[in-house]
């Protein structure tokens, strides 16, 4: 599904990532973990096309997407969420998710401005699709609220609903449990499993070890910009290198 090889990122004189390689199987939930400063978010920014890496390649379903801008990756059915949720604050919850369907709709500027019949029927389809994903994430009753007014936990769900509306085959989540209370985290775990059950490959960066061990099929461990280990949650928990890296830095 996703294959990264030899990813290296150098900022000024600092090597943030050093020849990191791994591959992610279709339909898995994969967790990327590591102590602070391990390079997890940098790696996500490279995979999602926000940073351009110093070296290395990214293959998405066999296509070399190295250096593709984010909007092109979205058309190849890869979307992501952000650690500090990036909502469209001035728009309603429903409108946020409607933007998620951008790549699944095509009416251009003129067709929209002239309200051509096909753009009107497409608009209805967008609205229905968006409502469906709000229902999936359990926030349909908040449709008319502005995104700015949502509590953080609901905002997180909205960001996920919006990403799902793009009908991704792979979704990257940057610390989805950050800022959530324990109840919300439990609900999030269920939601992520339901997303996987839709056949969507999930990759997440996460600090909440309980969550990672509970839901992930595979785990990649980064430390100081290098890949330290890779395996099932059980293998990772028993790996001496991982235990050493986390000693004294127990999150």
């Amino acid at each position: 599904m996703l294959e990264v090889s030899g990813i290296t990122q150098i900022f000024g004189g600092v090597t943030a990532l050093d020849t990191v390689s791994f591959s992610i199987a279709k339909g898995d939930i994969t967790g990327v973990i590591g102590p602070n400063g391990a390079g997890k978010t940098t790696l996500f920014n490279i995979i999602s096309g926000i940073y351009r890496q110093t070296a290395g390649t990214v293959l998405l379903e066999g296509i070399n997407v190295t250096g593709f801008p984010p909007e092109r990756l979205a058309r190849l059915a890869m979307v992501r969420t952000f650690q500090n949720i990036e909502l469209f604050g001035g728009m309603t919850v429903l409108e946020n998710v409607m933007v998620g369907m951008h790549t699944k709709s095509s009416s251009g500027l003129l067709a929209c401005a002239l309200k051509m019949p096909w753009s009107v029927s497409e608009e209805r389809r967008i609205r229905e699709g968006a409502a469906k994903w709000l229902e999936f994430t359990g926030i349909l009753d908040l449709s008319d609220h502005t995104a700015d007014s949502l509590p953080f936990g609901k905002g997180r769900l909205l960001e996920i609903a919006r990403a799902l509306a793009a009908l991704p085959r792979i979704i990257l989540m940057d610390e989805p449990a950050a800022g959530l209370n324990s109840q919300e985290t439990l609900a999030l775990a269920q939601l992520i499993k339901r997303i996987r059950d839709l056949g969507i490959t999930v990759v997440l960066v996460e600090h909440d070890m309980e969550l990672v061990m509970d839901i992930c099929d595979r785990i990649v461990v980064l430390n100081l910009g290098r890949k330290l280990a890779e395996g099932t949650p059980r293998e990772i928990q028993e790996s001496p290198e991982v235990i050493a890296a986390y000693l004294g830095d127990d999150d």
């Binding site: 909007e71 952000f82 933007v99």
Partner: protein, 330 residues
């Protein structure tokens, strides 16, 4: 439980009704103001509404500032004026040709300029406006320079020549209402949402597949096309144009209309344009003090109605009349 599908079609009906009501009100205006000096002012309200909508699409929706929009307005006016006087082109042909030329130019300029953000974008568009202004002044073989370009023909349809305030009112407002409907449709569409998304979080919009760079350039070009159209209509109704109408001051006035009316609201652009066009006429009696009243009003508006008239007036109504908490949005 809210039903978003149902509420969507209800909103569409309500919006259409509002637009029809607004159009009827506008079309009835000559009944009350025929023969008065205000008739002429209302023609300018129409032109300024078009310009404010054009700038609002860029600033209020896409979140990209322009301090040079008077330049596109002037370019439309001069292209139309020169084509119809020097080259005797039919005004109905000159207007779309000018609009396409200005749109094409804006599209080309847009790619490098809209890479800039915020203050830098403001500076670049400010420079652009000044370049246009200098060009109008200096290419006097074509534009007549500071003394202006005169004897621009009126528009005509069959035997009707648009040369009176009432006829011009219907002409200008006919076009303005079309531009308004066009902008309203756009605002509540896939493209309008993508614009607002770019405004709120460009990175999130990109991750969802919105080509932010291209979209910004497209809306910049569309905005310039509307300005050009307004400029052509201005030239053909006034029959005389000179560079002073298209300078930096007017760009700032347009910006003020958009902000005072309400960013991201098409009707707000009308309110802002109406207020800023009518105010100088109302304050005429105040002689030299008008500028003080004018400035004071701006300060009060920005301090107490940061959402503009279109949001401020309903808020005041709720506060003093209904005492009801705010729900939903316009």
């Amino acid at each position: 439980m809210v039903n978003p599908i149902r509420s969507g079609s209800d909103t569409m009906k309500r919006d259409l009704l509002l637009f029809v009501a607004f159009s009827l009100l506008v079309m009835m205006a000559p009944q009350y103001f025929r023969g008065s000096y205000l008739m002429n002012v209302l023609v300018f309200v129409g032109i300024n509404t078009m310009l404010a909508i054009a700038l609002n699409l860029l600033l209020g929706y896409a979140g990209q500032i322009s301090l040079g929009h008077a330049g596109f307005f002037g370019l439309g006016a001069y292209l139309s004026g020169i084509m119809t006087t020097t080259f005797s082109v039919n005004p109905w042909v000159a207007m779309p040709v000018a609009a396409l030329a200005v749109g094409g130019l804006a599209f080309l300029i847009g790619f490098p300029v809209l890479k800039l953000k915020e203050h830098y974008l403001a500076m670049a568009t400010l420079g652009l406006g000044i370049i246009f202004y200098i060009t109008f002044n200096e290419t006097y073989e074509w534009t007549g320079g500071p003394s202006g370009l005169s004897e621009i023909p009126n528009l005509r349809v069959g035997g009707i020549i648009f040369n009176s305030d009432v006829k011009n009112f219907y002409l200008i407002w006919g076009v303005t209402l079309v531009v308004m409907l066009f902008a309203l449709n756009l605002a509540n569409s896939r493209v309008g949402r993508a614009l607002r998304a770019v405004h709120d979080s460009e990175i999130a919009a990109q991750v969802l597949g919105v080509n932010a760079r291209l979209l910004k350039v497209q809306i910049f070009a569309l905005s310039a096309i509307i300005c050009s159209l307004a400029g052509s209509l201005y030239a053909h109704t006034m029959t005389f144009i000179s560079p002073t109408s298209f300078g930096f001051n007017f760009s700032i006035e347009l910006l003020t209309m958009v902000v005072i009316g309400g960013l991201g609201s098409i009707y707000g652009s009308f309110l802002g344009a109406a207020l800023l066009t009518l105010l100088p006429e109302i304050l005429r009696g105040a002689n030299d003090y008008d500028i003080i009243i004018y400035g004071g009003l701006l300060v009060v508006m920005v301090m107490y109605m940061p959402g503009g008239l279109v949001r401020g007036i309903p808020a005041l109504y709720r506060k003093f009349v209904k005492q009801k908490p705010e729900t939903g949005h316009a």
